[in-house]
């Protein structure tokens, strides 16, 4: 489909009103903004999935019989919940990143972990810490008699967790999880600080070049409202798909 007329309309809009949306009619800006958008979506998707995995695994480890394991999970939660995500990101990127790099013969420092990967790691651990607590609350809401019944049927702790405890706890946790994941989608913008070329970073480049800060701000807000809308819609669908007659949520 040829979108040239649409792009030309935005060029006309600029001429007629001064609203400067170069991301539509300037091919270079259009390309870099689109790349930024894709980077943001990839970043968000990766963080959403891995933060839920962190939450699920963490909540299981929290119920471990071994005290050191429980303490380690607790320490992890306290660290990531009680420090600002931006500070964590800097810590990962500048402190840990430095040790995970090497010097080439030409004297160039090469990082083993990319900016994008650091952002995924850091934000997943950050949101994951909250997810552990969210799932724990869900797990505690499952009657212990239900687990006793599973044990009486020969389920091991892991199997009972996978097939019974988690599916039930997950349903109870969904509304709280929903909140945290929406927050995570928005928090991905802080990876701007370590130069991950996501949408905010690219928008900043564009408004520096084109001097169209208000326009780009509005574009960002509209896109973020839509992205969060998509996440909320998916979560809502999910919640409905998991609904069980005669049971919560």
């Amino acid at each position: 489909m040829d979108l040239t007329p649409l792009w030309e309309w935005f060029r006309w809009l600029y001429g007629a009103t001064g609203v400067k949306l170069t991301i539509f009619y300037d091919a270079f800006d259009r390309q870099r903004f689109f790349d930024g958008f894709l980077t943001s979506v990839r970043l968000q998707a990766a963080c959403l999935v891995s933060s839920v995995v962190v939450g699920v695994v963490g909540a299981w480890l929290q119920g471990s019989r071994l005290k050191p394991v429980r303490l380690a999970v607790q320490g992890y939660i306290q660290f990531f919940r009680n420090t600002p995500p931006l500070v964590q990101l800097y810590f990962f990127y500048f402190a840990l990143g430095y040790y995970l790099s090497y010097m080439t013969d030409e004297g160039l420092r090469v990082a083993l972990v990319s900016n994008f990967a650091w952002a995924v790691i850091c934000l997943s651990l950050y949101a994951g810490a909250f997810n552990v607590e969210i799932f724990r609350a869900g797990i505690e809401a499952v009657p212990k008699e239900t687990i006793e019944a599973a044990e009486a049927l020969g389920y091991s702790r892991l199997r009972a967790y996978v097939y019974i405890l988690l599916p039930l706890a997950f349903r109870i946790s969904l509304p709280a999880l929903n909140n945290n994941l929406v927050n995570l989608v928005k928090t991905t913008t802080i990876s701007y600080a370590i130069a991950v070329p996501e949408m905010l970073y690219v928008a900043n480049q564009i408004w520096s070049d084109e001097v169209n800060v208000p326009e780009m701000m509005n574009v960002l807000l509209v896109i973020y409202v839509s992205l969060v809308g998509v996440v909320v819609w998916i979560m809502h669908k999910w919640e409905r798909a998991l609904r069980v007659p005669g049971y919560v949520s």
């Binding site: 009486a152 349903r171 005669g246 049971y247």
Partner: protein
């Protein structure tokens, strides 16, 4: 109904409980309980609340570890730290007061889950067995209902079918009618009686004295962590010797 005494007591009992002690914190719940259950025998345990009846059942399938004494189920020492719990729990099915069905799965899935997840049996084979069991507990047509859509009595019968799906040799019933409406108690008791008549070894904790009298080969009365008195139901209910038993029976009958 299996008449009292038809069980040959010569062979080793299927469940052998000797001098079992169990405390929760400072509360000693079992203070030296001993009893034997032969293969095919049906025993009923009665007694006031808090007398340790449910704990005793939970010790048999190792849901509750014992402090002292010995429980041997089909030659397997339950108190052994190297005990293979799965092996034990395959043999011993349990049905609970609150049914404890898995609310996110349908009736038939509840029945099918453990054989598939735990015993790794073939799904199609398990499904046909599950359908037979659902029919056995008279719940045809309810296969795809979720527990939340079933009455208490129906849920309890699903729970019985779920336990039977593991092909146990012993069934433990822990006050399975205590949470039910009076009109649904009967349908559950009928199901248990059929099982007993088929020769299933059953240990039943109950407050239904009429049922105990009818179904049991042997009745045990527990109070404050000890077995006060036991005997075949006809003698037990007609001529209890211990004053505590008599008092309990006079209150409840």
């Amino acid at each position: 109904m299996s008449p009292a005494g038809h069980v040959t007591r010569t062979e080793a009992p299927l469940i052998h409980i000797a001098d079992v002690h169990k405390s929760f914190g400072k509360v000693e719940v079992l203070k030296g309980v001993s009893l034997d259950v032969a293969k095919g025998e049906v025993i009923c345990v009665i007694g006031p609340s808090g007398s340790g009846k449910s704990t005793l059942l939970r010790c048999i399938n190792a849901l509750v570890p014992i402090d002292r004494g010995s429980i041997v189920v089909d030659g397997q020492e339950v108190n052994d730290p190297r005990l293979d719990k799965l092996q034990l729990r395959r043999k011993v099915g349990m049905v609970f007061q609150q049914y404890n069905l898995f609310p996110h799965r349908t009736a038939i899935e509840n029945v099918m889950m453990a054989p598939i997840h735990v015993l790794k049996q073939d799904r199609r084979e398990v499904e046909s067995r599950a359908r037979r069991l659902i029919a056995k507990v008279r719940l045809e047509g309810k296969e795809d209902a979720y527990p939340g859509e079933l009455s208490g009595g129906q849920q309890q019968r699903v729970a019985i079918a779920r336990s039977l799906a593991m092909n146990p040799e012993i069934m433990l019933f822990d006050e399975v009618t205590a949470a039910l409406d009076p009109e649904t108690v009967k349908e559950v008791l009928v199901t248990i009686r059929e099982l007993a008549e088929e020769g299933m070894t059953c240990a039943i904790v109950t407050h239904e004295m009429g049922f105990a009298r009818e179904v049991a080969d042997h009745v045990y009365f527990t109070d404050r962590g000890v077995i006060v008195e036991h005997g075949p139901p006809r003698e037990f209910f007609a001529q209890a010797k211990d004053p505590r038993t008599r008092q309990f029976l006079s209150q409840i009958l």
